[in-house]
Amino acid sequence: MAKGTNDAQLLIQSLRKAYASTPTSLKIIDLYVVYAVATALIQVAYMAMVGSFPFNSFLSGVLSCVGTAVLAVCLRIQVNKDNKEFKDLPPERAFADFVLCNLVLHLVIMNFLG
């Protein structure tokens, strides 16, 4: 038992150390993803409490959070310098894609919101 918790603690500490070395831009993106998912969870909790009457609004809200989180993850993949696949893609281009896709997503979301 103590070994288990010890192992977990060691694991978390090693993860922390490794994480500290990630560049700042990636950390910003990670934080954004966590923010989006948290908002989605709060909305799901609300729906669980009061029922899904305007179902389109619920879907709209949740999917906007999830969608933007997905787009942020894609941005992180493309911007990460350690990723060999996207070596030749300039990060500004990836950012531009991120902004454009977000704008389209939010247009659709606003239409569906009702």
Binding site: T24, A38, T39, P90, E92, A96, H106
Partner: protein, 691 residues
């Protein structure tokens, strides 16, 4: 005694072949026609009735019927017509305009008749079709009748030109090139030929006129006939757009033939009965419904009224239903087609026929007396001892003056249908209830003249007997068209029975034993109603004579139910009960505080994100410092902010289309600005890497 008989025979011979003309009801033109004319021909504000042709037709009809034409409206017509005459128009318009001027009596000082005459004479010379010749010749004739001097240069040639278009069967073609001929064109051609003869005076060769007389005889061979002696002309084998119909064709031929008869020195070989047949055709139309038909009818009858062949006289009865009780007299009028008085005549009633064409033998030929004040021939019916009924009366009209006899066409035998009505006596009316073995009867006398009601009672083993006799005023037994006895139950279920006739009596026997099923086993009070009716019965009976209490056995299970009685229409079609609508209950919404609370809760992760950003050490070092890229960067961020603001507006109040439009503009702007900014950033980071 023999002399009148010989005279009678002579008249018969002169008046032509015997013709049995039967009873269509015709009346001469009367005030009803005049009022119908004023209703049908309604002038517009400027006094015209439509085109020049229609105006002419309306005014000519008014002229013939004697309708007032002096109204102020027609002064305007005079002016428009005289303008037409001075301007270049077609020959047809000239013709109608000249005719209108003549009818209205317009002032002719301002009209240049010489110019018009020369125009018409050129038209006659250059004419290529029958209608052109007709209109131009008619116009010249109208000008001549106004008192001006008109010369027709080549009368013979014109006559020949018209005659050349005739066919061997008496019909005419419209021009040299057309192949079809029509009887309508024949009428027009004859009128045109008559105009030529009147204009030329004695220049026309009489043999030519004789040839045309033969053509007219051939034309009259084509006449068609109804059974009652009415005659008319109709077209066969004519183009559908050339087909004018029997009224127009007959009218055209009548005008043409009467016009030609007026100019021909010898009498035309057409019998008086043909003229009378045509007159009957026009009169049998009654009051026509359209303006054109009205004109055709009135114009033709006017030509027939004063024609030179023979003037038709029509016999009409002002009343065809005569009452024996009121001692009506049989009244007969003989007049011309326009109702003007005829010469001195003798009208005799030859025979009286019953509907099955048997002669009433008790009747002998009688001559009607004449009432000069009312100009009516009458006959007292009571001494004739004719019973009630429907009869065909056969009249004969003869002109008293033997010289004038061939001037008039009266037809041979004229058949008119008349009704003699009278009071029918009801005798020996009895109603009785008897047992089935006819042992005892309780008879009650019915007096149908009084209002008394009888009441009886019977059960299903008994019989009901109703009998009566009907007698005419002259004492014969009468058989009415309708005699029905109705028994009506309290629940409004009705049963009808027809009494049987035997020798002089009508008897109805109802054996209730056999009728139990028919009555649907309904016991109770039945009202008895008697209906006796006939066209000649002045005192038809429709009344309740009393009631009978019927006692019928109980209905077995499988018996037929009485039919449903009609429902009171007000209850079926009246207002119905009100419907209260049930609307869908609205969804349950959560309490507002909870929703607002959660909205606040949603903002929390944003705050956490911002705090986290600060913790990580976000900085604005990468923001470009030099002026141009800085502006672009600011614009880029501003553009994204604007798009997000647009989305908020879209959610609040805009619709998708305006949003997309605005988004299009913003998007293009954003693309441009973003491209500049990001490419600048990319170039700076590339420089940094290189360095």
């Amino acid at each position: 005694m023999a002399k009148p008989l010989v005279l009678h025979l002579l008249l018969l011979l002169i008046c032509g072949s015997a013709l049995l003309s039967s009873g269509s009801v015709i009346h001469p033109i009367s005030d009803a026609h005049r009022s119908a004319a004023t209703e049908l021909f309604v002038p517009a504000a400027d006094g015209s009735f439509g085109s020049l042709e229609e105006t002419y037709e309306a005014l000519r009809t008014f002229q013939i019927l004697g309708v007032d034409r002096s109204s102020a409206k027609f002064e305007g017509t005079c002016k428009t017509v005289s303008e037409k005459l001075s301007s270049p128009t077609t020959t047809k318009d000239l013709y109608h305009a000249l005719k209108i001027t003549a009818i209205l009596g317009c002032r002719t000082e301002s009209i240049e008749f010489d110019g018009i005459t020369s125009r018409l004479q050129t038209a006659v010379k250059d004419a290529s079709s029958l209608l052109e010749l007709y209109y131009s010749l008619g116009g010249l004739l109208t000008v001549k009748e106004q008192g001006k001097d008109v010369i027709l240069s080549d009368a013979d040639g014109t006559f020949q030109a018209i005659k050349a278009l005739s066919q061997s069967d008496g019909r005419w073609r419209y021009d040299k090139d057309s192949t079809g001929s029509s009887a309508f064109a024949a009428g027009i051609a004859l009128e045109a030929l008559a105009s030529v003869v009147s204009l030329a005076g004695s220049d026309i060769d009489q043999s030519k006129i004789a040839v045309v007389r033969k053509d007219i005889t051939k034309l009259f061979d084509r006449i068609k006939r109804y059974d009652d002696g009415t005659l008319y002309f109709d077209e066969k084998n004519v183009d559908p757009d050339q087909y004018k119909g029997p009224l127009a064709t007959s009218a055209s031929i009548t005008s043409g033939v009467t016009a030609f008869a007026a100019v021909s020195s010898e009498k035309l070989n057409i019998g008086g009965e043909k003229i009378l047949g045509l007159a009957k055709f026009f009169l049998s139309i009654g009051i026509p419904g359209t303006a054109k038909d009205f004109f055709y009818q009135i114009n033709s009858l006017a030509s027939l009224e004063n024609n030179r062949i023979s003037i038709p006289l029509v016999l009409s009865l002002p009343a065809t239903v005569l009452s024996l009780t009121a001692k009506d007299q049989l009244k007969v009028e003989v007049t011309t087609v326009f109702g003007s008085h005829a010469p001195s005549l003798a009208v005799s009633l030859l025979k009286v026929l019953t509907p099955d064409s048997k002669e009433v033998t008790s009747f002998e030929k009688k001559e009607l007396e004449y009432d000069p004040e009312n100009r009516i021939h009458f006959l007292d019916l009571s001494p004739l001892k004719i019973d009630v009924g429907k009869y065909s009366l056969i009249f004969k009209v003869s002109v008293n003056d033997p010289e004038g006899a061939d001037l008039y066409a009266t037809g041979d035998q004229i058949i008119v249908t008349a009704f003699l009505t009278g009071f029918i006596k009801v005798d020996k009316a009895e109603i009785a209830v008897s047992d089935s073995d006819a042992a005892s009867e309780s008879v009650q006398k019915l007096d149908l003249s009084k209002d008394s009601l009888i009441s009886l009672s019977a059960n299903h083993l008994q019989k009901l007997r109703l009998s009566l006799q009907l007698t005419t005023p002259l004492g014969h037994s009468f058989k009415p068209h309708q005699m029905v006895v109705k028994l009506r139950h309290e629940s409004k279920v009705e049963h009808l029975f027809v009494p049987e006739t035997s020798s002089r009596q009508y008897k109805l026997v109802l054996n209730f034993l056999g009728l139990v099923e028919k009555f649907y086993y309904l016991s109770g009070r039945y009202e008895i109603e008697l209906a006796v009716g006939d066209a000649v019965m002045e005192n038809s009976i429709l009344r309740s004579i009393g009631s009978i209490e019927l006692d019928l056995p109980e209905a077995p299970e499988k018996a037929a139910k009485p039919p449903a009685q009609p429902v009171d229409p007000l209850s079926r079609f009246g207002p119905k009960e009100e419907i209260s609508h049930i609307f869908r209950a609205p969804e349950k919404r959560p309490p507002q505080e909870l929703s607002l609370g959660f909205m606040g809760l949603t903002i929390l992760p944003l705050l956490a994100f911002l705090i986290g950003l600060l913790r990580i050490g976000v900085n604005f070092k990468g923001f470009p410092t030099s002026a141009v890229p800085a502006t672009f960067a600011i614009l880029f961020h501003g553009g994204i902010g604007a798009v997000l603001l647009l989305y908020v507006l879209f959610w609040l109040k805009l619709d998708l289309f305006t949003t997309l439009k605005a988004l299009g503009f913003l998007g293009v702007f954003l693309l441009f600005v973003g491209h500049r900014t990001l490419s600048y950033l990319a170039s700076t980071s590339a420089k940094q890497k290189a360095a």
